[in-house]
Symmetry: C2
Subunit: 333 residues, 2 copies
């Protein structure tokens, strides 16, 4: 397990979206983060106290968590200096990047010299099976998005928190580095070998009590040409009983794909449901989760009402207004 509390490293993140990992830890395990550390040019700010390595160390931080996800996941030279200094000061490092800490000779050397541990949470540590498609007991909910990074993990975490509060049986199932850093376990799906993707999700969401819900963290989007295969493995390996549609209404193109427009919520509903019913004919779309962070309160409320009327399903921003109505919808399945 990764030692807490953390100092969250934001590096030179170009924007807040790139700091998804750090934001997730701040929001869902605030007690685990003593502060943030940015480099010059950083476009992300978590609102935590900005600290040097020494200040955070004095505040009790044990692990420097790389809280920023780069496309392609490269550990830059600018980052290296800080990471090595952290190891020299007795920190452990934790990362969900593709470019593994353990593949960097200077980090490995510094870790060995100073007795630090390098945690690469992206690396699968299990030999996953090939999916067998056998129906499992218990219930599963999957968040699917019109695009990447629209709030699928938040939605699942918020629903899980609400269900715990109500005394319902639920488990958040992490499928990405942030979720794994938050909960301490899960499947790093985007690093799994293609043939075993769906099987890894079957493994992650095994037979359970009939009234237990797995809240499965979504990845990518069926409409994002770079990552749609990963999403598909979740839709089929997860065998969901319920889908939540996730959307961010201010995007003008798919993330990282200029020229690709977002699908409508109707397109997402029809495509995702049709594919999910291959694995579970009883699957239903039960609600819509909208990430309204770029809208004002009145605008957000109006937009949610409009979507709710248009789709005939509860439409909420679980971060802004709570996940209660999504859990109500799930409870009715």
């Amino acid at each position: 397990m990764i030692e807490t509390p953390y100092l969250l490293f934001l590096g030179d993140a170009p924007d807040m979206l790139a700091a998804k990992v750090a934001i997730g830890i701040r929001d869902w395990r605030p007690d685990h983060a003593v502060g943030q550390l940015s480099l010059p040019g950083c476009g992300a700010d978590l609102g935590l106290t900005e600290m040097t390595l020494a200040e955070a160390k004095a505040a009790g931080a044990k692990t420097l968590v790389i809280g920023v996800a780069n496309r392609g996941g490269v550990i830059s030279a600018a980052w290296k200096e800080v990471l090595i200094q952290a190891l020299e000061m007795g920190y452990d490092l934790a990362s969900g990047l593709h470019n593994l800490l353990r593949d960097e000779g200077d980090l490995v050397a510094a870790a060995q010299t100073h007795g630090g541990t390098l945690h690469d949470v992206r690396v699968p540590t299990v030999g996953y099976p090939i999916a067998n498609g056998v129906k499992r007991s218990g219930k599963r909910c999957l968040a699917v998005g019109t695009d990447c990074s629209v709030g699928k993990m938040y939605t699942a975490l918020a629903m899980d928190a609400e269900m715990q509060k109500r005394g319902m049986k639920s488990t958040f199932r992490a499928t990405g580095q942030t979720g794994i850093l938050i909960t301490g376990h899960g499947v790093p799906l985007d690093a799994v070998i293609a043939d075993f993707m769906a099987g890894s999700i079957e493994y992650l969401t095994p037979d359970n009590d009939p009234d237990h819900w797995d809240l499965i963290e979504g990845q990518g989007s069926l409409f994002h040409v770079s990552y749609s295969g990963v999403t598909m493995a979740l839709v089929h390996g997860g065998q969901p009983d319920a889908l939540i549609l996730c959307h961010e209404p201010t995007r003008d193109h798919m993330r990282g794909l200029p020229g690709y427009s977002l699908p409508s919520l109707e397109q997402l509903r029809d495509t995702a449901l049709g594919l999910a019913q291959v694995g579970n004919p009883d699957c239903k779309v039960v609600g819509i989760s909208v990430n309204t962070q770029h809208l004002g309160e009145d605008e957000a409320v109006a937009y949610l009402a409009e979507v709710e009327a248009q789709m005939g399903l509860p439409a909420v921003d679980p971060y802004r207004h709570g996940a209660g109505r999504l859990v109500d919808a799930l409870d009715a399945v």
Copy 2:
């Protein structure tokens, strides 16, 4: 490159479907296969001369090719004896199994002792990029199936052969071990890391002449819950201009998934086309390739006529009757 000619090892293949690799080599590069080698209980027969290792060696065989694909890809103890004996006799080994030759200590030791080479064609040897979705020049055709192992590779190989005969510009693009063993290059897609699947297909099918066609080998099925994520990466990474629907009409359930029925050709058409048009809005379904190996000639002809009328698209068995009409349809795109 793998040294030819081959002796094709069938092991204890339960049926002909399990011997897909060997069948592909026999049909598309018959000059490369001097014979076949079966173990007791083998349910596959290629119709090649059954040979011992010594007989094939005398006939000039240089490489023992594992021509059988097991679910999960395990190298059994029964196979080991033959493989080690082959290395002792001076053979190289070539395999597309998940369970790598290079991970078997006794095979590695025998190869080193006797100067043999272990070819694991399933292992990616390229650091593939993440897909960027940028439109590429040239044209691409992808075969998609109602199920796994319905003839997608055959269809692409037959169309490529017909196009070569007509003097058209075309390239068969292998995405699986059989295709790679046949052509000597390609992407072992089911062994690629999830995040890089679509990017590996972009890499495999780069910019080309405007009148050049890539015939992309399909994998899995959008309706097969074990492998649908792999198929999705082909549909989006391949950016196809044309889809060929592939079907085997005598299956009573999805391969390896009892209880899962096959989709109709209409369902496959609508699902695959809708998803393909996310990456290429001009994509069209141009024809249907039916694997009629389990039907008599009259029955096959009648079935093809029925499908053609039902779907309003040319429906042929390229193995039985040639790929001419599918190429005509492609040429009209």
